[in-house]
């Protein structure tokens, strides 16, 4: 068989193989195109137009962006959103790792603890917020106030204090979501070779040494990925403040996504400005993801 003919056969075979692959992907791509890319493109287009509800009236360039950014509530929402991210990393990034390590090191009832930490994640999001709103209610009937009342402390108001609302919302979000993240870490830890543990045990390694020299290095890459996912997720926080504090007091818990919602559905129906906020959020997240990818790649190169 000539080299040319052999090459053609190989090309055909690869093509056949690729056609099958593409056919498998087509439904997914179509759905992606229809439900993700098209709305995304439409949103960018809408942000450049004066709109009347969802209709485009006239092209106005970057006017929507200028108008949105020049308002105080945008700056407040931007600062708040970064504040959400900061508190989320402070309260919520290490906790799942800690939970995963504790459960991983547990010898009895591992399944029970796994279920227990995941349980809040199974509750509907709104139910969780309503549950916690009763906990943080400022009256004498608020659960937390009843508890501190036993210690002789007078009732406090929690959700009306601008300096407390964001940490409280993040605390609630962490309570709900930490278990699911912990399970991912546990899956990562399950991939660690048992020989490593045995060797460490033979060498007399303590739990602390096992954690710092085997477990944490093993999940470091996973943690990096989860970090960026967490930032993306928290940056889009919306329903928690919307239900718990309605963005208040005095916009102290207003997030960028909530601001977007207000422009679109909060009475003004300004979809152009809402789209402008959405595009800004997307750009910020793209930049943050790019920064992460850059450092991640550089780290990989060093390794």
């Amino acid at each position: 068989m000539s080299a040319g003919k052999e090459s053609r056969i190989r090309t055909h075979a690869r093509l056949r193989e690729n056609v099958t692959s593409w056919l498998i992907m087509v439904p997914g791509l179509l759905l992606m195109l229809f439900f993700v890319w098209e709305p995304l493109f439409e949103s960018v287009r809408m942000s450049l137009y004066k709109t009347r509800n969802v209709e485009l009236v006239r092209f106005i360039g970057l006017d929507n962006f200028v108008s949105v950014v020049s308002k105080d509530d945008f700056m407040q929402a931007l600062v708040n959103t970064f504040s959400y991210t900061f508190w989320s990393l402070l309260l919520g990034f290490g906790l799942p790792v800690l939970l995963a390590i504790l459960i991983n090191e547990t010898t009895r009832g591992k399944g029970l603890f796994r279920t227990a930490v995941y349980l809040p994640n199974m509750l509907p999001g709104l139910a969780v917020i309503i549950l916690w709103s009763a906990f943080f209610s400022g009256g004498k009937s608020g659960v937390l106030n009843i508890l501190i009342g036993r210690l002789g402390i007078p009732p406090q108001s929690y959700l009306t204090r601008s300096e407390w609302v964001i940490p409280i919302i993040i605390l609630i979000a962490t309570w709900k979501g930490a278990g699911a993240t912990a399970l991912i870490y546990m899956a990562g830890m399950a991939g660690i070779s048992p020989e490593l543990y045995e060797a460490a045990a033979i060498d007399g390694a303590t739990v602390r040494q096992r954690v710092f020299h085997i477990l944490l290095p093993a999940v470091r890459k996973l943690a990096g990925t989860l970090l960026i996912l967490q930032i993306i997720s928290v940056f889009q926080i919306m329903y928690e403040p919307m239900v718990l504090t309605k963005g208040g007091p005095d916009n102290a818990s207003l997030s960028l996504m909530q601001l977007m919602w207000q422009y679109a559905f909060g009475g003004s129906m300004n979809y152009g400005k809402a789209s402008a906020v959405a595009v800004i959020v997307t750009l910020i997240l793209l930049v943050m993801t790019a920064i992460y990818s850059f450092f991640n790649r550089r780290e990989s190169d060093w390794e």
Partner: protein, 476 residues
Amino acid sequence: MNRMIQCVSLMLSLCLLLASAGGFAAAEGVVDGDLTCTITLGNWPPDTASAAEKALFEGYRDTMARQYPNVTLVPDYYSYTLSNYVPMAKGGTAPTIFQPPFTDPQLLISQHLVGDVTEALEKFGVLDKFSPSYVEMLADENGRIYGLPRDGYVLGMHLNLALFREAGLMTEDGLPMYPKTLQELAEYGQIIREKTGKAGLVFPASETYGGWLFTNIAWNFGCVGESALEYQDEDGRWVCNFTSPECVAAMEYMRDLRWKYDILNVDATTTDWAGAHSLLGTGEAAMNFAADDSVDQPTSNKGLPVEDFALIPFPAGPAGRYALAGGTCYMFAPDITADQAVAAMAYLKILGKLPFLDDDIIAGMRADYAAKRDRGAPVLPAISAWNDAEYNSAKQAIVDEYCNVDMRLYSDFFDSLSGGTISLKSEEPVFAQQLYRELTAVIQRVITREGADIVKALQKAQDSFQEYLDDEINDY
């Protein structure tokens, strides 16, 4: 503006007692019995609704099937919000009839998101009985009608009499010594808080609710006419006016309620409309700015016995006595056909929403009032949207049959409407929801920070809302 206020006041008062225009007549014969079409009905009672409510609507459906056998009714659980309605209207899936609050009709009309039913109303001969104040809310600049009032309301105050009793604020006749002025409201609220430990006043200062209620307080401090919160200048441009001395004084009053008299509920900034009713109904607060159409909220919904509940007029301020007149309306899908519009009116007639009374309508009203009484909600006279004295008095007679309350606890409220001692006012004319949102933010600042600079906060809100007005209406 004062003239308009007087007009609204006069018209609504006339609706209650004095109107003399025309009599009511059966509309039989105006609609072809062979009318054939399908209409979708939003706000159908969900499966979780009470058996009485479901039976009531099934009864309406049966009546419609009997009178118009070729009209197909499609029940829909759809409940209107601006955010969910717009995509449905644009996508052609909006129900034929839906029920927005009176804040939205003008926005929906200006955006061409609702259907014109003028011809259908003419066919039923009711166009000229429509109260002018409602025409103003539900028509475009050419007088075309796009909606029908479902029910009107006037803002007053709900009282929890159990707390008034505990605070020693009851007369020997068993009537509450209630606040007639905003100043008395602060003082009585303080007495209640000191004597009972509960909030004197529940003020829902979240989202748009705070601003919505505050406009009433502001009117009573003089934010009307030339000092209105928003007005049109000589060039026809809309101008926001939050920094007038009257508005500043009203906001200072809000500050005093929190920091001087300390009568507000503790979580005011997270309390919404339903939460406010809940706090009053469960005895956590003694007074709530609320209307006659929501008396079932603290009572039947939250368990406050009707004998512990009272409805009083909105307290007067230093510059007058104003209260909001608003309500909920029926509006129609933008693609409604002429036949569907007629069928929709026929259905609303069966519901008793047109000024006709026949056996079916009277039976429907009786069932409605009986259901209210059974679930422990006060049965009260409704504020009519029709200038039809005979119709209004006939309805009142049916209400009287089912009345389950001591009317002395409500008479001042209704007397203030019929006697003209209170001036009724519709909501701020343009982009009211956005205006409320801006004012709510100021209220939140003022009641959460003792040293808040009120003028600065109002100026900031004014700049923001002015930009909004310029963007959406002045420079459009």
